[in-house]
Amino acid sequence: MEKKQEVLVIIPAYNEEKRIASVIRGVRDRVPQAEVVIVDDGSHDKTRWAAIEAGAKVLSHPINLGYGAALQTGYKFALDKGFESIVQMDGDGQHDPSFLPILLEGIQRREADYVIGSRFLKTGSAILAGEIYPAPFIRKLGMRFFATITSLIIRQKITDSTSGYQAMNHRVLEWVSSDQFPWDYPDADVIIMLHRAGFHIREVPVRMFPSENKKSMHSGWKPIYYIFKMFLSILVTLMRK
């Protein structure tokens, strides 16, 4: 492991050649001191070269492994390089980079180990109110459902358990880099596992935009598998000591 560095932004990307450069620029504008690493998850297009030309480091999977595995590759890189604070965000431009400093604040002040950016957390700012996030009713219902289950289990209000916009400290990084990490659709189950491992979790409001022209992770038969997997994962997590 190399000497401790400050902030790493991990961005998993799959076929995002058109958007990845603007996402990297957005991160650099908001957090200039941060290192940016793109995890190209076996894209068929030129995502990798677009990211390199935009000045990011690129970890490139030779095959498509999925979102969770791409994230974990980024975690392993961060662990090896000794980063202190890590943010993960999507490569499709869905996550507004102006909220990066808010996500990092709790980590850097050592007030939380794991910070979730919630699109549904209501604050004084009307623009962040959950009602404006455009998503199909069924999907919103699913998000609320798993957020409620997570909240009940960890006895802490979680409004957006499916958010991929998150920050973590080095201790959490060690955990997510291990084989305990559920790399097949990591979501609400990760929050529960981290809570059970004794980490302090916090939610902050963020803005998310709808993803354009993209085949969602939650399309086709995947939602059915996702629900099944999440239930099973939560159940076995609760059964583990």
Binding site: R48, T73, K76
Partner: protein, 128 residues
């Protein structure tokens, strides 16, 4: 057991054992995955040569005909071997992921090393 049935069962059992051992010998089947099949072949031979054992097992499971007992155990075997392969595939999926991740990490490391050691005009961008 009629002699014709006995001969067929013996031939099937012996052929199965021979096939499995031959596949292992040619390194087309790993020893790790051969034991279930070898046990099945041995089981067929054992029940053929010792029919009373099959009758006793039929009585034990509450079946009427010995052929029902054979079907029951064949079915259980298929379920068990499917489960065994699911476990093996899960393990392989994890290893596949680990390998691809290590590949990505090492490749970046190589690119970084090249960038440091080569003059900038030579370029170190990976091939498109």
């Amino acid at each position: 057991m009629p002699i014709r049935n006995k001969v067929v069962a013996l031939v099937v059992g012996l052929w199965m054992l021979f096939l499995i051992i031959e596949l292992v010998r040619r390194r087309k089947l790993r020893e790790e995955y051969s034991w279930l099949w070898l046990m099945t072949g041995s089981g067929i031979l054992l029940l053929t040569l010792w029919f009373d054992l099959l009758k006793w097992m039929t009585h034990l499971v509450g079946a009427i005909s010995p052929s029902s007992t054979i079907f029951l155990f064949a079915f259980l075997f298929l379920i068990f071997i499917s489960l065994h392969f699911s476990v093996a595939i899960s393990k392989l999926t994890d290893r596949n992921k680990e390998l691809a991740q290590q590949y990505a990490l090492l490749e970046l490391e190589v690119q970084e090393l090249k960038k440091r050691s080569l003059p900038p005009e030579e370029g170190v961008l990976p091939k498109k």
